[in-house]
């Protein structure tokens, strides 16, 4: 288009903030910062920054997901670990810097959307812009001439063109209808900008709904052994993380009983032998106290929703049932003990604490192996996830379990600092190995332990997220806006006519895209064809550089 590439005065939304630094005092500075922030270029930089800032969260363990891994990481890297911690690299997504980037981005977004929406509102309600003086400078341009004999005047031709364009779903406006050079201005695809605005506004909606979910929702975990019942109250949870504004009286008072948990392992394929192929929990759900209990099936990928909360099957394992008698012959512990599987063969770690045992408290640490085999070094290992040859392998301790000091203790670990070992591989008494139905008498008259049977348990997550539906709705709106904005071409078309001194009616038309529009050339060709057909006029000259002739 030659060297005279002119742009009308750039509007705030798209000003790239050329470095003109006026000395304008406080208001000027604020305005300058605002314009910087809402400039397209800085929006782009903030977007790229957001992408970069999200990456460390995948490289370092994150506290909200995996607190114990973070602790381990800090232990393993005493040098720079604390520094990383200081700069919130273990809490990336709630860190000051990550939040700052996305908040700035969203402020920029608002600063961008509001003026654009206003401008577009005006554009939609006003007529398409006046026909440019020189249509030939437009990227698409063509002319036609109608012989005097056709009897179509310049005014008539413009009316015809307007009608044709309107039928092509353009909004049209005729300028200088009675003048010497009447013209019609037409515009199509204003939905594109609406789509763009809808997309960006919906992103704000998504963010707000995520925040609502985080503030007013809750999430908790519960391990349920077969036969156990969970009632949705604060004390019922193993772990509970409420949102900042969560109100505990809003817990739906439902109850879940795990009747049976079935696991199917792959037995038909040699390559995937023993891989799980199905987890099915048969549960009984009571919506609220006094309601009719309903039997339901809970599976992975298939949560159950009760009231505003849903629960999900997220884990499972074995809970060997044991009975511990103390030195006085009294039962100090009896029931299923949840063991934590550490591999595909369910080599499961377990800890049993019997604080009621007298004269000394008793503690046990060891493994449950569903199918135990012994290797050539005499070490037992699990070879299959199904309970084909179940064994409990335990070490035992007596002494002070440290439970009375009032500190919360992890039930899955045993602090052996203040304990005296009774059984392990290195002692004369050896370790304890029990098959179901067997029992063992502890040395030094400390009592006995019996392995009574095996139950299964499931780990369930219970969650209530009041923002979730909103997130979905806004995400769908964003998607619709995005599709409109990327695939609808927006452009303007003008047709101008005039009468040549020799009596011919001269017609010229030009098209201009607004934003990306790769179909402009095709549209120009289509309009050219339409006009030609309407008047059966010979096209004297479509754009000579166009490829499609």
């Amino acid at each position: 288009m030659g060297p005279t590439k002119e742009h009308p005065p750039a509007t705030a939304k798209s000003d790239t903030g050329a470095p003109v630094l006026p000395r304008l005092g406080a208001v000027g500075t604020v305005r300058w910062i605002w314009r910087q922030l809402t400039s397209m270029r800085n929006a782009l930089l903030l977007l790229l920054l957001l992408a970069v800032a999200a990456v460390p969260g995948s490289l370092f363990p994150q506290r909200p997901v995996n607190p114990s891994v973070v602790t381990q990481y800090l232990k393993d890297h005493p040098g720079y670990g604390p520094w990383l911690d200081k700069f919130q690299f273990f809490n990336v997504y709630s860190s000051v810097w990550f939040s700052a980037i996305y908040l700035l981005l969203f402020i920029s977004l608002i600063g961008c959307v509001v003026p654009r929406a206003r401008a577009h509102w005006k554009a939609m309600r006003s007529a398409p812009p006046r026909t440019p003086k020189r249509l030939s400078r437009l990227p698409e341009y063509g002319t036609l001439e109608l012989p005097e004999s056709s009897g179509i005047s310049a005014g008539q031709a413009v009316q015809d063109a307007a009608r044709l364009l309107r039928r092509r779903r353009y909004r049209v406006h005729v300028y200088d209808a009675g003048g010497e050079r009447p013209s019609v201005a037409a515009e199509r695809g204003l939905i594109r900008e609406v789509g763009n605005l809808l997309f960006h506004v919906s992103l704000i909606g998504v963010l707000v709904c995520v925040a609502i979910g985080g503030l007013f929702g809750y999430r908790g975990q519960k391990i349920l052994v077969e036969g156990d019942t969970f009632v949705n109250t604060l004390v019922g949870y193993d772990q509970f993380s409420p949102g900042a504004n969560f109100n505990p009286t809003r817990l739906d008072p439902f109850a879940i009983t795990l009747n049976k948990f079935d696991v199917t392992f792959d037995r038909s394929s040699a390559a995937h032998y023993g891989q799980p192929i199905d987890f099915t929990a048969a549960v009984t759900v009571t919506d609220k106290p006094g309601a009719e209990p309903v039997k339901r099936i809970l599976k992975v990928n298939d949560p159950i929703t009760v009231g505003g909360a849903s629960f999900y099957l997220v884990g499972n394992g074995y809970a060997p049932v044991v009975t511990i008698k103390d030195g006085a012959g009294k039962t100090a512990f009896s029931g299923p003990v949840v063991s934590i599987p550490s591999d595909g063969a369910y080599t499961s770690l377990l800890v049993i604490k019997a604080p009621d045992a007298r004269p000394s408290q008793l503690g046990f640490v060891g493994f449950f192996l569903p199918t135990a085999l012994v290797n050539d070094q005499g070490i037992s290992y699990a070879s299959d996830p199904d309970p084909l040859n179940p064994r409990l392998n335990l070490n035992s301790y007596y002494g002070d379990l440290g439970l009375n000091a009032g500190q919360p203790r992890n039930v899955y670990t045993l602090d052996t600092k203040n304990l005296t070992p009774l059984n392990n591989r290195n002692l004369k008494a050896g370790g304890i190995v029990l098959a179901p139905g067997q029992s063992y008498t502890l040395p030094e008259g400390k009592g006995s332990i019996s392995f009574d049977g095996i139950k299964r348990y499931v780990g369930i997550d219970i969650r209530h997220d009041p923002g979730q539906l909103g997130v979905l709705i806004f995400a769908l709106a964003a998607l619709a806006g995005l599709i409109a904005s990327l695939f609808i071409g927006r452009h303007r078309a003008w047709v101008r006519t005039g009468t040549h001194p020799d009596g011919r009616t001269m017609v010229e038309y030009g098209l201009l895209a607004r934003g990306e529009n790769h179909r402009l050339a095709a549209e120009a060709a289509a309009i050219g064809r339409l006009l030609t057909k309407e008047w059966s006029a010979p096209a004297t000259n479509t754009n000579p550089l166009a490829k499609d002739q």
Partner: protein, 372 residues
């Protein structure tokens, strides 16, 4: 649970190998096409430079009236008024429908349509072989699916083999509309890399899905992810060529010798950019769907739709990078080369997300354990 059909599994492997061999043949044909044209290119360059020199005045003469848009005497009077141009309002508008000046013989036609440069026999052979290979590949993927009694995208091996097939199908689909045979070498090369990685590094016998993957969301989410990634693969190729071509254009403009003769087969940097943009726009919608469906599935499986799991982080990063790319195309000073780099970076993130994250990062992939 249907039993695994080992016969079909075996067929699948045989077919996969055959497809690989056919792809190698196609690769050779496409490479031959490039070499062939580079040889021709050296002679045409001389001619073309000569043409450019001798016909220079003629060209300008043609151009002036064309630009003014007139041949009819009557129309000139419309253009006498001051040049008021309804401009792109400061938004970096890509001249998508402008016709850039071309140097015949030095670059392929911008429209990327067939039949403009005369027949290219090796390229035709390449396409035929690719179609053949793709047919065998379809058989391989289908028999894998039949063997396992489910969709054939449940583990790395299957992502790779099915993904490679989708790349090829997308490529062939685009070929029916536009002459993108110039990226043939690249696309086939990449598919061979994927197939090799699948059979060497990720090989897994046909098997059932673990419960966490048994969901119709696997079908929806993963298939869209694979198709979008295939589209990103194409645009990656286009963006790389765009960078090369744009360097070449600069050096040709100052009449330096043509060091990248094979780019003679490739259209101008601008039209590569526009083509990449159009495909990236579609792929971005696909990736947005991937992200949304992934979130819905995560809600079903893990009880939260977003938890910054490693896989989620990278899916998000990719989405943001391509959003940046789309912005760049509308930002003055960021179009052209910079946009191409963003498209390339986006694709590197896709590859990273697939190859590195799946293999080396731990995430929510095991369901046997209790996360306590």
């Amino acid at each position: 649970m249907p039993t695994i059909n080992e016969t079909f599994a075996l067929y699948s492997e045989r077919f996969m190998l055959l497809a690989g061999i056919a792809y190698v043949a196609a690769l050779i044909a496409f490479a031959w096409d490039l070499v062939n044209n580079s040889k021709k290119g050296r002679t045409t360059q001389q001619q073309s430079l000569a043409y450019a020199l001798t016909s220079q005045p003629g060209v300008t003469e043609q151009k002036i009236p064309a630009r003014a848009g007139t041949t009819g005497r009557g129309t000139t009077e419309f253009q006498e008024a001051a040049p008021v141009l309804e401009g792109p309002e400061g938004r970096g508008e890509r001249p998508t429908s402008q016709h850039s000046v071309q140097r015949p013989g030095l670059m392929a036609d911008d429209s990327m349509r067939y039949g403009l440069a005369g027949p290219r026999k090796p390229a035709r052979i390449g396409v035929s072989l690719t179609v053949l290979a793709a047919a065998i590949h379809v058989a391989a993927v289908l028999s894998r699916g039949l063997a396992a009694g489910r969709v054939p995208w449940g583990n790395m091996y299957e992502f790779c083999t099915t993904g490679a097939l989708v790349v090829i199908l997308v490529f062939l689909l685009v070929l029916t509309r536009r002459d993108l045979r110039f990226v043939g070498t690249f696309v086939i090369g990449l598919v061979l890399v994927m197939l090799t990685a699948a059979s060497v590094a990720f090989w897994t016998p046909a098997g059932h899905l673990v419960p966490a993957l048994q969901s119709y969301w696997l079908v929806i989410h993963v298939s869209i992810a694979v198709v979008s990634s295939a589209l990103f693969t194409l645009t990656f190729a286009l963006s790389v060529l765009q960078l090369l071509q744009s360097r070449r254009e600069t050096s040709l403009a100052i009449d330096k010798p043509d060091s990248l003769v094979f780019l003679r087969l490739v259209p101008s940097a601008l039209s590569l950019e526009n083509m990449a943009y159009r495909i990236n726009a579609i792929a971005f919608i696909g990736w947005t769907l991937t992200l949304m469906f992934g979130a819905i599935w995560a809600e079903k499986a893990w009880g939260r739709f977003w938890g910054w799991d490693t896989k989620e982080v990278w899916t998000f990063v990719i989405w943001v990078v391509y959003a940046g790319y789309l912005h760049a195309r509308a930002t003055r000073g960021w179009t052209g080369t910079r946009a191409a780099w963003l498209s390339i970076v986006g694709y590197l993130c896709v590859v990273f997300n697939f190859a590195i994250v799946n293999v080396f990062f731990s995430g929510l992939h095991s369901y046997a354990g209790v996360g306590s």
